[in-house]
């Protein structure tokens, strides 16, 4: 980092060509959007929370009772609910994730013709592509009845059910962070440790893991942030009673679910104030996570005295437990989804009773099919992509190649802040924007497709920025020096040499962002999605979308046919996101291979290890 920044400042002259200054200014403008956006979110939260202080509502909001009908708007039970659910999910997911990573890194069996680590890591990557609402749907109809019958009493919609599913949701985050760290640490250790007669288990437990101290913490912090910020799973599974739960079988309500529920019921203004107080709390929690991440200094190898064999045995037990339990859980949920969803696939699923050709070519209305929702999701993703991709890529270029000094640091910390904003907050931001417009310029303002797309664009913006930035910064330094020595200006270097070299990686980042935009439910719930809107005709119309259809039908289905529709929609969405993720991954993989071929120094990994 320090190196690349130095190089940025003294690398090449500024504005060698007349157009250069304009381009730089445009790139800077793209980066400024992130800063403005963070400032906007903060301002909104502050503005809408103001009545808490000026009108003395804080006593009512910061209390333990939520009874809006009688004017009691206490949000503390929800804050406790968020913390309880987030930490319990983490307590489940972190050890399982650690076990899974250890299993994949050598604690599992080493059969000559079959390495179980490969399918295991493939499964973890598949898990990253499963939309939240799909997990939610499968859990509502598989896990919740199990909880209900297993622990007789209660509805099954409980802290326990939500925590179990949430643990599956955050697990891939944890595994991928740990896997990345171990990959950094182990190559240098493997031969040394082996030459000293250490077993693979000893090497991992006593040498590699202590060196990954930072990764272990980062994984926990990121996992917690993801768990606290999630809306759909608590909303669908935890029962949503506004109370502090007495035990794991009790119902609870999180801040995220609370925001979604209150906006949906559209109550009076005092409720809105408490809503934004929830938002502020949630923002505070997610940013505390963000700060926690920064506070993690790289720990320099304080290897404690190893505690003998018990630790190794524990690690092996943990590895085997997670290698069996996690795939079992995921396969059960996804298998159930396939079992219920596959029979529904067909033209009728998408078009109902309308002839498909009429719907496709002449825009005939479809009533009992997913076609309007598919179209809605398509339009939504298209508009959001048009907004986010140019901004994100430009800002990534700016941060990687042009930003320096204080401005650069400010922008990159704003991008980090933005990346930590839970999606429901982004929806709340859009909802607040409409409230503001109604009070000021435009009394008839209402939530719509354009607003949803705008909020989704802001949601995926940080992904795009960091994907572009990482790919550019990963390019070898010689490339920049070569281009500079040939007399190219900075922008020429970026546009003609660096961007083409990084293009596949950038494209991979774009596809991931599109996948993220297609599956998100929390944002659109607050900004204009409805059921039965039909095909949207204009940007200011309400619209339907696949993820919201799944959520709605899971909760409100009137007939078994409607439930089948939900499973069909879930399967469709899952296929879509899995396809996008696979595409992004293959692009990245080909970038890595291509890099060693095109930009490597001529020695392959094999030659380096055997020379």
């Amino acid at each position: 980092m320090a190196d690349s920044r130095q190089q940025k400042t003294r690398g090449m002259g500024r504005g060698d060509l007349p157009g250069e200054g304009i381009v730089t200014a445009l790139l800077f403008g793209a980066s400024a959007v992130s800063v403005l956006c963070v400032a906007g979110i903060l301002a909104f939260l502050a503005w809408f929370c103001l009545p808490l202080v000026t009108e003395g509502q804080s006593a009512s909001v910061l209390s333990w009772t939520w009874r809006p009908a009688s004017g009691q708007f206490g949000i503390l039970p929800m804050a406790v609910g968020s913390l309880l659910l987030g930490s319990s999910a983490l307590l489940l997911a972190w050890p399982l994730g650690l076990g899974l990573t250890l299993f994949a890194h050598g604690l599992g069996p080493a059969w000559p013709n079959f390495n179980p680590a490969r399918p295991l890591m493939a499964l973890v990557r598949l898990m990253t592509s499963v939309p939240t609402v799909v997990y939610g749907l499968a859990s509502v109809f598989l896990l919740v009845p199990l909880v209900r019958s297993g622990f007789s009493g209660g509805s099954g919609f409980s802290w326990l059910a939500a925590a179990l599913t949430l643990a599956l949701l955050v697990l891939p985050t944890i595994v991928l962070v740990l896997d990345g760290q171990l990959r950094l640490v182990t190559p240098g250790l493997r031969l040394t440790a082996a030459a000293l007669g250490l077993t693979r288990t000893q090497e991992l437990v006593h040498l590699a893991l202590p060196l990954c101290g930072r990764g272990l913490k980062t994984a926990a912090v990121l996992g917690f942030g993801r768990a606290v910020g999630d809306t759909l799973l608590p909303l669908m599974l935890s029962g949503n009673a506004a109370q502090v739960p007495g035990g794991p079988l009790d119902s609870l309500r999180t801040l995220t679910a609370h925001i979604a529920l209150v906006v949906a019921t559209d109550s009076q203004s005092a409720a809105y104030t408490s809503l934004f107080a929830c938002g502020a709390l949630l923002f505070g929690m997610s940013q505390a996570v963000n700060l926690g991440l920064r506070g993690l200094r790289p720990v320099q190898a304080t290897l404690s005295a190893p505690r003998r064999l018990s630790l190794e045995r524990l690690a092996r037990a943990l590895a085997w437990t997670s290698a069996l339990a996690v795939p079992a859980g995921v396969c059960a949920l996804l298998g159930y989804l396939l079992w219920r969803g596959l029979p529904t696939l067909g033209a009728a699923l998408f078009f109902g009773d309308t002839p498909p050709l009429d719907a496709l070519l002449h825009g005939a209305a479809v009533f009992d099919g997913l076609w309007p929702a598919c179209l809605g999701t398509l339009y939504l993703v298209l508009v959001a992509s048009c907004l986010a991709i140019p901004l994100g890529v430009a800002s990534g270029i700016h941060l990687a190649e042009f930003a320096t000094g204080r401005a650069g640091r400010l922008i990159s910390s704003c991008v980090d802040l933005l990346a930590g904003v839970p999606s429901i907050l982004m929806g709340l931001f859009g909802f607040g924007l409409i409230l503001l417009l109604r009070h000021t310029l435009w009394p008839r303002a209402n939530t719509c497709l354009l607003l949803s797309a705008l909020c989704l664009a802001l949601l995926v913006l940080p992904y795009l920025i960091s994907a572009t930035r990482t790919c550019l910064e990963a390019l070898p330094r010689e490339l920049r020096l070569t281009a500079a020595s040939l007399g190219l200006t900075r922008w020429q270097t970026v546009s003609r040499v660096l961007l083409p070299a990084a293009s596949r990686g950038v494209l991979g980042g774009i596809i991931l962002a599109v996948g993220r935009a297609a599956e998100d439910t929390a944002v659109i719930m607050l900004t204009g999605v409805v059921v039965g809107a039909g095909t949207p005709g204009a940007l200011t119309d309400k619209f339907e979308a696949l993820p919201f259809t799944i959520y709605y039908l899971a909760a409100e289905h009137q007939s078994p046919q409607e439930l089948d529709l939900a499973f069909g929609a879930a399967l469709t969405l899952l296929c879509l996101t899995a396809l996008l993720f696979a595409l992004a991954r293959s692009l990245r993989a080909s970038l890595l291979n291509g890099k060693s071929r095109r930009w490597g120094n001529g020695t392959s990994a094999y030659q380096r290890t055997t020379a």
């Binding site: 250790l189 493997r190 030459a195 007669g197 320099q300 190898a301 290897l303 094999y606 055997t610 020379a611």
Partner: protein, 255 residues
């Protein structure tokens, strides 16, 4: 002179590419026995075949037999019952570049003894000090044992790695161009140390520095082998070793 290492028909391939092809060699105890050859001729692979370290690299296939005399018994390195860890505890290795573990000087010495040999606190400390003295490093590091090993100079780090191997009290020491990454002065220091050690251990040394190879074969018990491309192994005749001119001519032709 007794035989300490007996290699028969050893073949090693990585990802289907043959690096060593049916190679046989007997190494006498003591030494140092020096192995020279162009880079890429498979010297390192041959050395790593002796403590089965090639298996830690991807896509490696080894065939043939390697027998090592450890004390009074012969150990077949590739026999099904031989565990690689047990073998590596008794065959020390020093790498081309210093590879201290990212911990303190003292932990570098003691951690492997604790994990691999399961020694108690008292014995670990004793062995560590003895080995550091043997590697002529004790006086330089005795006041900074708790400093990170990476803060030592390159030569000190390499002697630390040597001491770490010596602390296991191995019968055989495998040295893979141990002075390649050191400056001239540190290299000479390590060389003298190795000559000194060769009286007590069986030392097999890979080198592609001709002067070093010549100096290392000044001893009485010297042996030198040339590993040619195509994995042919040639012993260098004793008279060639004595005659400086002929040796240099050989080296020129070789390197």
């Amino acid at each position: 002179m007794t035989t300490a290492i007996r290699i028969k028909n050893l073949s090693v391939a990585f990802a289907g590419r043959t690096v060593l092809d049916t190679l046989s060699l007997e190494v006498d105890s003591g030494g140092p026995t020096v192995l020279v050859g162009r880079s890429g001729s498979g010297k390192t692979t041959l050395l790593r075949a002796l403590n089965r370290l090639n298996e830690c690299l991807p896509d490696c296939a080894t065939s043939g037999s390697v027998e090592l005399r450890l004390g009074n018994e012969w150990l077949d390195a590739y026999a099904p019952g031989t565990s690689p860890e047990a073998l590596r505890k008794r065959v020390g290795m020093v790498f081309q570049t210093p590879n201290p573990l990212p911990v303190s000087v003292a932990r570098n010495m003691e951690l492997p003894l604790e994990l691999a040999l399961g020694l108690g606190q008292q014995e670990r400390a004793e062995r560590a000090e003895l080995a550091l003295r043997e590697a002529h490093l004790w006086d330089e590091v005795k006041d900074r044992l708790d400093h990170p090993a990476r803060t030592l100079s390159g030569g000190q780090q390499q002697r630390l790695c040597l001491a770490r191997a010596l602390a296991f009290r191995p019968k055989i020491l495998l040295l893979d161009e141990p002075t390649a990454s050191l400056d001239h002065k540190s290299a000479r220091g390590v060389e003298e140390l190795l000559l000194d050690l060769a009286g007590r251990y069986t030392v097999l040394l890979v080198s592609h520095n001709l002067n070093q190879a010549r100096r290392m074969s000044q001893r009485q018990s010297r042996r030198m082998f040339v590993l040619r491309e195509g994995a042919r192994l040639e012993a260098v005749a004793r008279e060639d070793l004595d005659d400086k001119e002929r040796l240099l001519a050989l080296m020129d032709e070789l390197l």
